[in-house]
Amino acid sequence: MADGNDTQLMGYNAAMGLALLEEMRRDETIFVLGQGVATGGWFGAEKGLVAEFGTDRVIDSGISEAFEAGLAAGAAIAGMKPVVNMGFGDFALIAGDEIYHKLAKWRYMHGLDVPMTAVIIFPIGTMGGAGPEHSSCTEVLGMHFPGLKVVVPSSATDAKGLMKAALREPNPVLFHSVQSLGWSRGEVPLDPEFIIPLGQAAIRRAGRQMTIITYGSMVPRAMEAAERLAAEGIDAEIIDLRTLVPLDWDTVLASVRKTHRAMVVHEAARTAGPGAEIAAQIQERAFFDLEGPILRVAARDVPLPQHSDLEAMCIPSVDDIAAAARKLIET
């Protein structure tokens, strides 16, 4: 029996799976549906679930993303807590009506003050040549349609803790799991009550001279860049947002007011990506605390290539982040 402090070294996707397992034991209204989930999931998050819960609660669907997401909305409205793994974040667009209209707006447009739990898992980002229709970072869409919550964990620990929060959240959650971190490992708490509340950013590295605001796949890269910068005498603070809706503005603004310099780093495309909103709000709310312009380091504005070497050229590297930081410190 795990006591409160036990941890286990496990992968990011497996940690999500552990959260699902624990919560499905606790709450029989949770069920999991998606393409291949009954055989363990394409990326391993659902491994072992069918053995314990059977095909009544771990359900394979056909290739039908609009149906899967719409079904989640309908089941949630009817009082169940569906978890739908959409396979790839790109497929959000196939199910646009069901996610951004039905899940986001149903209670609002019907004037209903009722809980509605639904977790849509979107594996996002590059994974070494999956190509332009299987590599997109679509999390910004969830920010643009009020009514949804938007999560992007950056570690195995957070993948578990945030999934636990999502499954107890009375609102629909778009849970973006990061493909490039899927098999990264970390010490994950085994306490079934370990939960990371939505809307709380984490300061991954304290620093004095600049604030690097990031999330998801870019957190480990920003951390590595910060270590290099430290050797050069540049002291960067790293904020891992963890959730984009709600976004922890208090932590972001407090850091910027301390460091007076800010840059946003994400794997999502640069133009109208989450960084555009974050930079805009920082300048609206803390302009006179800034020493210079807020920089963005983000994916190149092209469809992501199938060729893995070309793909790597499109995504911010540790070098790119460090170079931007050196520019920022000059302002």
Binding site: A66, F67, G70, G74, M80, K102, W106, P146, K149
Partner: protein, 320 residues
């Protein structure tokens, strides 16, 4: 496709109950026609006159806690499932007494989960996967409820029509696909874009029963729906019902209807007249009088009710 054998007998009292609700629906229809003509109304009302027997007949065969997902024309489904005229008119007039608290309009978003009125999605044909979701919920919970997805003929072209029915048939979900086939997609004729004018034909591909009924006759609609309900509750899976209905008015209030044919209404049968023939004595006249009085009172109340203020804009976006 031929219909499966169905029990055509109407249980005691059902005809009268259906007529009373249809009369309420018609009273609201007439009132909204007048209201949209006379007042500056921005609610996008989509009149349902002529099609009332579909919603009234089908909902009479459902139980109180069965899940209803309706399409946005008229109000027969919500009335049939047990909503009162007050919250319906409140929304149509944009008042705080509406079911949505004042957010609503002529594209209705009436919901009352306590009587299984689950709501309406205004992107046409959005009911399919939503009803699939509540039907799957019922199957997992074994709660014995049936889900009904009401949709127009035009939306049978939607991808989710197929996606949902494929799964519902494979999983034998307690789901009823109910098509109100009025032959018109706004102003486009169904035959211009569909390979068949009989939506029930599609059932064969899913290996489920397809039923075509006279949608002007509430009793026929009731019998077909009861057949589908019994099948769904017995765990035998979905049924596709197609009610041939007549959209008597425009797609929206004020539609000039240039697409109409001159002889289009020559054989028109009003669903109230068809059902009235099953009632005795002056029952129909009495029920119409009662409905008119009830709706007039609800209308006066809605007119007098306040419009919402800006505080409603942030309401119900998130729970908790």
């Amino acid at each position: 496709m031929t219909n499966p054998p169905m029990d055509e007998a109407l249980p005691e009292g059902v005809a009268e109950e259906m007529f009373g609700r249809m009369a309420v629906t018609r009273a609201i229809e007439r009132l909204m026609a007048k209201h949209t003509r006379e007042e500056r109304f921005s609610g996008w009302w989509h009149p349902g006159e002529g099609q009332e027997a579909a919603g009234i007949g089908a909902t009479a065969a459902l139980q109180r806690d069965d899940y209803l997902w309706y399409q946005g024309r008229g109000c027969s489904w919500a009335i049939g499932k047990g909503m009162a005229p007050g919250p319906i008119l409140g929304d149509l007039l944009g008042k705080t007494t509406g079911a949505t608290g004042g957010k609503g309009g002529g594209v209705p978003h009436w919901a009352d989960y306590s009587i299984g009125v689950m709501g309406e999605g205004a992107t046409l044909g959005s009911v399919f996967p939503l009803a699939g979701g509540s039907a799957l919920a019922s199957k997992i919970r074994k709660d014995g409820r049936v889900s009904l997805a009401d949709f127009g003929d035009g939306t049978s072209a939607r991808g989710t029509f197929h996606e949902t029915l494929v799964h519902a048939a494979a999983w034998k979900l307690p789901l009823i696909y109910f098509c109100e086939n009025n032959g018109l997609l706004v102003g486009t004729r169904l035959e211009a874009v569909n390979p068949t004018v009989n939506i029930a034909d599609y059932a064969a591909g899913y290996h489920i029963p397809g039923i075509t009924v006279d949608g002007q006759d509430a009793a026929a609609v009731y019998a077909a729906t009861r057949y589908a309900v019994d099948r769904a509750r017995a765990g035998k899976g979905p049924t596709l019902i197609e009610a041939k209905v007549v959209r008597r008015l425009g797609h929206y209030a004020g539609d000039p209807q240039h697409y109409r044919r001159p002889d289009e209404f020559d054989d028109y049968r009003d669903p109230l007249d068809v059902l009235a023939a099953r009632l005795s004595g002056n029952t129909a006249a009495r029920l119409i009088e009662e409905a008119d009085a009830e709706v007039s009172a609800a209308y006066a109340e809605a007119l007098a009710a306040p419009s919402p203020d800006a505080s409603i804009l942030d309401r119900n976006l998130y729970h908790g």
